[in-house]
Structures are given as C-alpha cells and as structure tokens.
Symmetry: C2
Subunit: 669 residues, 2 copies
C-alpha cells in the first residue's frame, strides 16, 4: 500500500506513551484546550506493580489539578522510616527511627498507591476537561518519524514540521507475554533485564494492511520509557553505567513477626545484602531485596532465568533473620539491575521533547521514578500549551531542557550515592573502610528525604525566573537567559521564603469575603494561568493604600499586561490588616475583584493573613518573610514556580511588566 493512500491527519501535539509522564502532559493539553493525541503501544493500562511512591510535590501537583484527594484517600500513608542494622552480634536490630518526610515542608506527606490508580485519576481528569476530547489510543505504535527542519522555526499556525507514521496493532500483538504461565503477574517484560519489544512489534505488524496512518504534528513528546523509540529516532543517548547490584521486587501480603512491617524500613544485613520495606494499600507490602547471589554474566547483564519469586523471598528471609517472613498471596514481582543514566538531550529543535524514563533511569528505591517523570511533563505541558495558543514566546520552550535536565542530573547523583550506600555491606566498625558507615547512611537518608520530597527543586535564572546569576550555569548549560531589554532581577529579600526558582510554599490564608481558610497553594490551580500575587500589606495605612492604588492604576493602563489580565494572568491579593476591619468593595480597587454583569463582584480573589475560627493562624506574612506593612508583588508561573519577587511601590510595577515582556508574545523583545 502506498504511503499516499494512508489516512492523514494533523494535530498540535502528539504524545508517545501513556504512562504517568504522558498522561501528565495530556492533562495539561486538556486544561489548555490543545488539540493533542496520545498513543501507547500496550493494549491495556497496568493493573499491578510498577512505581508507586507519591512524593509531596506530586501530591501538590495533583491537588492543582483537583484530584489529590482521591490519591490521599486510597493510598497508604508512610509516616516513619525505621533503620535496621547489624548489632555487635551481627544480628539485625532497629537502630533508628526518623520521620518519612521532613516535618512542615508541605501540607502533604509521602504516600504509596498503585500506579494503575494514578493513571485512572489522570484518565478521568483528561476526560472531564479536554475539549477537543483527548483519549488514550492504545495498541498504537509509532513506526517512522521525520522532521522538516525548514519549518521548525516557523511558528505560524499552518506549520507542521513533524510527520509520524502510526500503526494500529491487534489486541494480541499489543499484549506483552509474561515470563511464565503463573497467575501471579510479573513485570519482567518492563524490567531493564529484558530487551525492549518495540522493534519486534513493528516487524510483526508490518505485514498487515490498512492499519497505518500518517500524523502531522507541530510538537511531539516522547514519554515512551527507558527504551524510548522516540529517543532512538533522534539519535540521542543515555549516558551512564549499570552497576553490579541486582535487586528483586515482591508485592506480597507478608506473614511475619518483623515488628516494623508497616513502616518504611531499610534493613542492612551483615553478610546477606539489603532489603527495603515499603508498606502499601490493601495490606500489601512491597519488598526490594538485594540478590547478592545473582551476578551479571560476561555481557554485564544478569541471567533472568535464575530469578523467581521463590529465589527473591529466600534472599529476603536471609536478610531479615531471625524474624520470619513468608506470604500466601503475591500480587506482582520483578527484578532489575541498578543503573543511573541521563539523556544527552531533552529536546530536538524545541519541537520534539523527551520526558520521564526516556531521559533518566535510576533505581526505584528512593520512590523517585514516577514522580520525576510526571514533573518533567508538568514542567513542559503548560509551556507547550501557552506557546501553541500564541500567548508565550516559543523561546520559553528552551527552559524545559535547562530546568529538567539539571534536575535529572541531580537525581542521578543522588541515586548513585544512595544506591551505593544501600547496596553496600555495612561497615563492621569505624576501621572497616570497605564497608558502608551506618551513620553516613542515616545522614544520606535524611538529606535524601528532602531531595526525594521534590520540594528542593530550584530552577535556574531564565526569562521565566528573574533571579540573579548565570542562566547557563544554573541550568544544564542551555542558553535560556532573557534579552538585555527584558532582563529583570527580582528582590528576593522582600519575601525571603518565596524563593524565585522554587515552588510557591503554602500557608493558610482566609478569604476576605467569607472567612474560609485556604492553603494559599490551593488557589494556584493548574489552569494555564500565571499569577500576579499582590501581598498588599497593611491596606488600612493611607501610605500603603495609595501605593496599592498606584499599582492598580498602572495595571489598568498597562498595554503589556491589560490584554492578558484574568485570562492569562490571574490577580490574587493577600493583605495583612485585620479581616474584620476591612471591606472588599470599600478598601480594594475594582481591578483586584472585577465586576461581571451576570455574576456580580468576584469574591474569590482577595485574601487576608488573619486568624481562623477552626484552623488556627497561618501567619503567612511571617512564614513567607514578608513585611506586614509594605508587602510585595510575586509572580508565579502556571506550574506554581516563583518567577519574580518585587516591590509594590518604587520600580515594582515596571519590573513586573518587564518580566512579562520577556515571556508573553507581542509585549516584549
């Protein structure tokens, strides 16, 4: 069949892979109203196993889409980590307890929930919000990719630089064979101990007619996993090396007298390797078990035929002795060989992007994989959406690689260190230099917790982050600096704890009109809007009031900002006067709570830092490090990261204009 006879269609964004990264991207496309398609080679979503730790930042992101509550309700909540190490007699005993996540960082804690449920939340969300409708097309495989380089810099609406041939598989072709006939599902087909089957699938399906189509796209995102087909077409590499450490994974309902089986545990045995306990929902426990008796062969890869649930549980029993550990029910199992790798490139001509496992692989034990993957897509999605809608300048797309490749590098460094400490043999005493010091391990664990929370991510200077310093140096080397015309450096000292480059932290504030307490971050929904947050200070002081009035007058007459108000830039106000001394209509300029003929005044944009009746006092100004009299102005990006902090008075407004001038179309360079 000739190519010209194939059905042909166009879309703005083509997403390859419907795992957590692909679905996160599709969620943004839905929220931004983008014409997108998402395809996956598998015929069904997964039902067991796979990554399942949800870190705090991921929950904050889920909450910004409106479904954190579903995850929170169904998940197991991990509260405490117990460390078990050999005592002087060589027998393991509990040596430490620490909170699973640092206290006070977020309104969420770390939870554990099966990946299939998380995908369900995304699918429901995409169905509810997408217009045009987006639904995952399963059993669909990309077969060829070509890029018309001459069109890559053409951002007109008729420019489709990418052409992909998609092939629709039969159900049978798309269902992976599991490694044995057992009823217990295993995940070896996705493990890095198994070859990828994409090429097989392409070959097998090529004989069939009438099942291929041509898609022309403006942008494409490869969320197609560690063996990424997209990455291979682009010729990009993953850099890094595997280690000799091989781990088995069991999802079981354990029968044990080990006292901490419902805690997250790190167990280092004296001679038999290490084990990690991750308690899950529905009485399940995930066990990560080091398989010290299985070594890689000459090719550097372990022989997977030696690995069965029986060999894995036996290894676990040796580690955890003298406690007993068996199971009657196994839900899933797999094995993997630790390796840390980062992609050389995260994008091609800012037209084709890679996200998730396609550009970083590492051990699963820090509960990072799914989270960092989703956060890649969370970083990219709104940028694509706003560029496609003609709102943001295409240059912001360069920040994706700059921001996320740097995060991946940090992750791999962390994982490398963490895995070595975790897989190494414990030191017998302080003189045992070949062993791992348990004090060092604990220290790494505590530090790692902050990293693993996802809340330490700090994006470098760029047109989107108005902070001091060199953009290339703070990122991955990509040039993402503003032009000199729009370069602006915010005044971090005005809000010491609202760090430019980091996510907007959350404290409780009250709605001025109905006194309801909200976590400030709850107001920053993932709807594709930037926020101009006016910390109005003491609105009852005449000086400050005239400062606010002047700021609002400038806003009303700004040719740069006015056209974007509310639809692209939401204005939120938080003042510090006493709630009951202030009235919305009397004390605040209309632009901060606009009037609509049908729905009246807006009552959901002005907040106050005051005591609540039932939920204590957020002390937002105090916690954010903002002066209660003078306040400040903050800009957050659509992904809740802080772009700018400046004055309400003085040059503040001009700087806000300059910030947006470097970002929005038709308003700057």
């Amino acid at each position: 069949m000739a190519v010209t006879e194939m059905p042909e269609s166009k879309c703005d964004v083509l997403i390859i892979g419907a795992g957590p990264a692909g679905l996160m991207l599709a969620a943004w496309m839905a929220r931004c109203g983008i014409n997108a398609r998402i395809v996956d080679k598998r015929s069904t979503k997964i039902f067991s196993g796979q990554a399942d730790g949800l870190q705090m930042r991921s929950l904050e992101i889920f909450d910004s889409f409106g479904f954190a509550d579903r995850a929170w309700k169904e998940a197991n909540h991990m509260i405490e980590i117990c460390m078990w190490n050999p005592g002087p007699d060589g027998v393991v005993r509990r040596s430490d307890r620490i909170p699973d996540v640092p206290v006070g960082l977020s309104r969420f804690t770390q939870i554990v929930l099966h990946q299939g449920r998380i995908e369900r939340f995304f699918l429901d969300h995409i169905k509810k919000h997408s217009n045009p409708p987006i639904s995952v097309e399963r059993a669909v495989l990309p077969e060829t990719l070509s890029i018309d380089k001459s069109l890559c810099d053409d951002h007109s609406s008729t420019s489709y630089p990418i052409t992909v041939k998609l092939r629709h598989l039969t159900e049978e072709e798309a269902t992976p064979a599991q490694s044995n006939g057992s009823e217990v599902r295993d995940g070896l087909f996705r493990s890095n101990l198994t070859d990828d089957d994409t090429d097989d699938l392409i070959r097998k399906s090529q004989g069939k007619e009438g099942t291929a189509e041509i898609v022309r796209a403006k942008y494409m995102v490869g969320c197609d996993g560690a063996h990424s087909w997209t990455r291979r077409q682009l010729g990009f590499q993953l850099e890094g090396e595997p280690t000799d450490f091989i781990w088995g994974v069991l999802d079981v309902i354990p029968i044990t007298d080990f006292p901490d089986i419902r805690m997250r545990c790190a167990v280092h045995s004296a001679e038999s390797g290490s084990l990690m306990v991750i308690p899950r929902e529905n009485k399940l426990v995930r066990l990560y078990i080091q398989l010290t008796e299985i070594k890689p062969d000459a090719s550097g890869r372990a022989d997977r035929s030696q690995i069965t649930p029986e060999t894995i549980i036996k290894a676990a029993q040796k580690i955890i002795t003298p406690y007993k550990l068996t199971y009657e029910y196994c839900d899933w199992w797999t094995a993997y060989q630790i390796g840390q790798r980062v992609g050389t490139n995260f994008d091609h001509s800012t037209r084709i992007f890679l996200a998730g496992d396609a550009v970083h692989t590492h051990s699963p034990k820090a509960g990072q994989g799914m989270n960092v993957s989703m956060q890649d897509a969370f970083n990219l999605g709104w940028k694509l959406g706003l560029v496609l809608k003609g709102i943001c300048q295409p240059s912001i797309l360069r920040t994706y690689q700059s921001e996320r490749r740097r995060v991946a590098q940090d992750l791999i460094d962390f994982d490398h260190k963490f895995s070595r400490l975790f897989s190494g043999k414990p030191a017998k005493d302080v003189l045992d230099e070949s062993g791992v010091s348990m004090a060092e391990f604990k220290d790494a664990f505590v530090k790692g917790n902050l990293f693993a929370s996802g809340l330490s991510v700090d994006y470098g200077a760029s047109m989107l982050i108005a902070k001091e310093g060199d953009a290339a140096e703070q990122g991955d080397g990509t040039d993402v600096s503003s032009s000199s015309k729009t370069r602006v450096v915010g005044k971090q000292e005005l809000a010491k704890n609202i760090k430019m480059g980091m996510r907007f932290p959350s404290y409780k504030v009250l709605n001025q009109s109905d006194a309801r307490p909200w976590h400030f971050q709850e107001l920053l929904k993932s709807d594709g809007r930037f926020r101009l947050i006016l910390f109005a200070g003491n609105i009852l002081s005449p000086n400050q009031k005239s400062c606010i009035d002047a700021f609002c007058d400038s806003l009303s007459s700004s040719s740069i900002l006015k056209p974007y108000l509310y639809s692209t830039i939401q204005i939120l106000t938080c003042h510090s006067a006493k709630r009951t001394d202030v009235e919305l209509l009397r004390d605040f300029p209309d632009i901060l709570h606009p009037f609509d003929e049908r729905s009246g005044w807006d009552y959901d944009s002005v907040y106050v830092d005051d005591k609540s009746y039932h939920e204590g006092y957020g002390d937002a100004y105090g916690n954010y490090g903002i002066d209660r009299e003078k306040g400040c102005a903050v800009v957050t990006r659509p992904d809740q990261y802080v772009g700018f902090v400046g004055e309400v008075g003085g040059e503040g407004f001009k700087e806000v204009e300059r910030y947006f001038g470097g970002v929005l179309v038709g308003s700057g360079n």
Copy 2:
C-alpha cells in the same frame, strides 16, 4: 383486572420515598446486605433548590459511609454569621459576628450543598455496596397498604406482615407541573402552600392496566414527606399549628454592594421584616425573605398566586436597604408558611416506621430539615438491618420512636422559639415589650448553633444505652428499658467526655503499627458493627497488663460475645504508653489483632494516644477524660452513639457481657 393476576413479590424492607431520609435508609440496607426496595412517586431526582445545609453531625455520618469528602470538596463552607439590625436611626448595620458553628466540637464545620448532589452521593454509595442490588424505582406509587397483625410478632424468616400494592406511573404522570411556564425552576409543588398530589396521581393512574404489583414486606418505612401517604394509611397525626409568617426563598447569583453577602446573615429590618442570607456553591446565594405584605386568608393559608420571584426580591430590597440587591440569574425559588408539627407515632407495631418530614415539619431556616430527616433514618437503618439478620433482638426497634420522637420534639421547640425571634419585629428599645430583643436573638442564635450542629443529641436510657435514669422519661414515653436481668448502668466517670447516649467524640490517635494519625471517629465505619473500644491505659505497667490479659481471656471464653467477635463486634484498642516503647505482637494479646492465614496479623485494630510527626498531639485520653494508667472499656453502637462505659478490670467485663446480653439474640433474656 383481578388482584390475583398481579405480579407478586417479597422483600424484607420496603422504603417509600427516595429523598435524603429514604436514601439514608437504603444506604444502611446496602451496608447490611438486606433485600430492600425503595420507590418514589417522582420520575426524576431533583436538580435545584430544596434543603441544603449540612450540619456537622451529618458530615460525620457521611464520613462513616465514606463520602463526606465529596460533599466537603464541592460545598460552600460557612464560617461566620453576621447579624444585622436597625441602629438608632432605623437603618440596618452589622451588630455582631459569631462563628457559624461552635469551635472544637467536630472535625467538620457546616457546609451548604444542593440536595441533588447529596442524593447523588447516596445513590453512588448504594450502587457500590448493595448486594442484593438496590436501586431507586422512580415513578412508583403505593396505592394500598394492609397489615396482618397476627404476623407482627412473628419474627421467623417466612413472616411478611405487610402487603402493599404499588402502581407504576408513566413519565408524564410522575413529573410535577411547575407553577408557571418560566425557565426558572420553582419548588411550589413541594411547598406547604400547595396541596399534595399523591391522591391525584393514584386516581389518574387507576384506569391503566398491567401497571400494578403486590409487594409483601417484613418491614416498611415511610420517608414520603410532609404529606406522607404512609402516615395517612396508618391514621397517625401531625400535631402542631401553622403560624402567620410567610417566607419566600430565592436561589440567585446576587448583584449587590451588601458587604456580607458571602456570610451567613440574619438581617432584621425595623419595619419590613427579616431576611436570611445563606451563601452557596457556584456563586449562588440562598435568600430567605419574610413576606410581610402577604397574609394568610380565612382558611389560614396564603394565596400563592401573589408570590413570584419579583415580589420576593422586592421584599428583600426593602429589608436590606440602603444596600442594593438585584440578580440576573435565578436558579430556583419557592415560598412556605412556617409551621411546627410532630407526629403522634413514629412506628406501627415496630413493623412500619415513619421518618423525616413524615413525622416533623418546621421552618427550613435553621438548616435542620434534611439533617434531622437523614438522622432519623440513620438511627433506624442499622437496627432494622441487625434484627433482620437475626443478630439483634426485635425489641431494639422500639428505641427508634423513643429516641427520634424526642429529638423531633426538641427540634420543634427550638424552631418555634427561633422562628418567632426571627420573624418578629425588632424591639425599638428595652421598653418595647412587643418587639424582639436583639440581645435575646443573638443568645438564641448562639445556643441554637449547638443544637443545630446535631451534636447535642443525647439518647435516653434503654437496652442500647446503659445510663442511669428512667427510660420512658428520657425518651418520648415509649418503654424501652432493659429487663432486670440485663439492666446495666455504665460508669460515666471513667470517661467523662464520652457520654453514654451521645455520639462518640473524635480526637486524633496513631496507628500503633505505622504511626499514621487518624481521627478516632474515622475508625467507626457504618458497616453495621458494634465496637468494643478498649482504652488499654498504660500497657507497660505490669498490673495494667495483667488486667488487659484477664479482660482478653474472658473475651476469648465468653459464650455471649465470642460468636459475635469481629463480624458483629469489632474490637479497637487505644493505649497510652509511648508508641515507640510498645510492640504490637509482643505487648498485646492476639485477640486484639487477630491472625489470618492469608493476610497475616491485623495491623488496623491497635492505636496509641501519642504525638504525631505532622499533625500534632490528639491527647485523646486527656480530652476523653480517661485515666492514662487504668483506661476503660467503651461500647459504641453501629451509629457511633455510646452505649456503655465501664472498667477494664473489676466487674467491667461482666457488664459488657450483660450489655450485649440485652441486645443480641440468643445471648440474653
């Protein structure tokens, strides 16, 4: 057509009416696995208007079924009440602010959400949990009812004392005509200003053939509203009188400069009547507006033709002047005449029961109607379920009238006082005896808030409530006392704030095995089980430990309790030692955390009163008023009401046995 030709079937419980009371009852039937049917004469559920305040106790109940989170997320949260009264110049001004609900009583506050959504939550829950399946049969009308008195005391499984003829209506017949051709929905067809249409429906449909059926039932519950057909068949009366006060109701998106439009407000004007503001979800506000210019006619009933949205908003404008109040969008409107009435009987031979508006009517302004109605059914449902399953003695069904008729009487007394204060003209000064004192009004409002929360309900002594005093006197006069053989009086002083007769209050405790904080009440799910809550005290003290061991030994060998353990009586333990000093398997008898061959040890039954990492310290022992060394034993009913408080040692266990002996089948009198 002869009766014998009609289809005939049997069910255990027939519920008439699928409003909130009927659905609550159906939810219990679903959770208890009862073969029940629920029919409603209307062809669709409601989409606008109707009662919508959800008080704290209702949310606690929703949480016990697992869907409070859905209501909490969608609803508007009411935080503050503002009182507006005439100043010395006769112009209304804000005179007071008070919290909408008393602080610290519950983990919930009062919220407002459209009744249609609440019905949706119930319908979803019933669908998920019912086996055999229960679904609302709409457009089905009861036509005749007969009771075979000779079978009423026969509790064998083949005894069906009730026969009802049901008629299936056409869609057209079952859809009520609204009062005008406007697109705005009105609720006059449900208002007490309109005649009931049940008889009309019966008459109109009788010509049709083949649409009737005979149902034989063991029990029947009439949740069929103020005009209850069921109540009329039984010949029971509503006692009480209407007042002259007529109120209009508007659900609008208001356009106004009134500063407190997003607060709950009580506005008393000097001469133009009163108005209540209830802010709702989706920018809607419900306005209750006194229509002082519309008077009842000679028959005592107002002429509804005078009442339109235009006349209602005009009345509101007069009250709220000098502020402006208009709207572009009206979602729903209605009008009603205040009247307080209570049913003479809540049951017939403990076989047919009445719940909700069928046995109490009152003004809607205290946000009580839907709540008290649902709570009637919440009280009745588990009793019916457990009697039908042969677990509880049928005599417990007598407590329904005893407990709920007393609540209805208290409600009516409250509403009578509250309505008079609310509809009366404000006193000009302290000498104005005919006017309502605004100080008295505020005082009633504050007291009323506690009543309205639903948390002050205190059921009297009975076989289900082991408290001191006379059962008839503490209820509505019905004899619900235990036999002398099983009569037991608990020791209230051992848990001063876990009051027998009241709902179990909630403080945070930690799961011993994973350190996760839970509100204690969250553990008391509506699954039809009683709970034996062992406040184990200081489990590390040898004396106390042997006390606990003895209690558990008695439990293991109790012929009364052993057969019911876990399936009918769940055991929960909460100790007061330091969490990290205690181990589940080492320190607690197996019976408190039983072993299962497939799922191992039970990790969800033992809790500790200790500090959490992220959610503070519940201080449950302190707040419950329990001695941290000695603890106590508490029994809660399946509806979270406290049945018994006693010692862990001494006569405690014997008393627990005696309590259950008076309740469970085959174990007592």
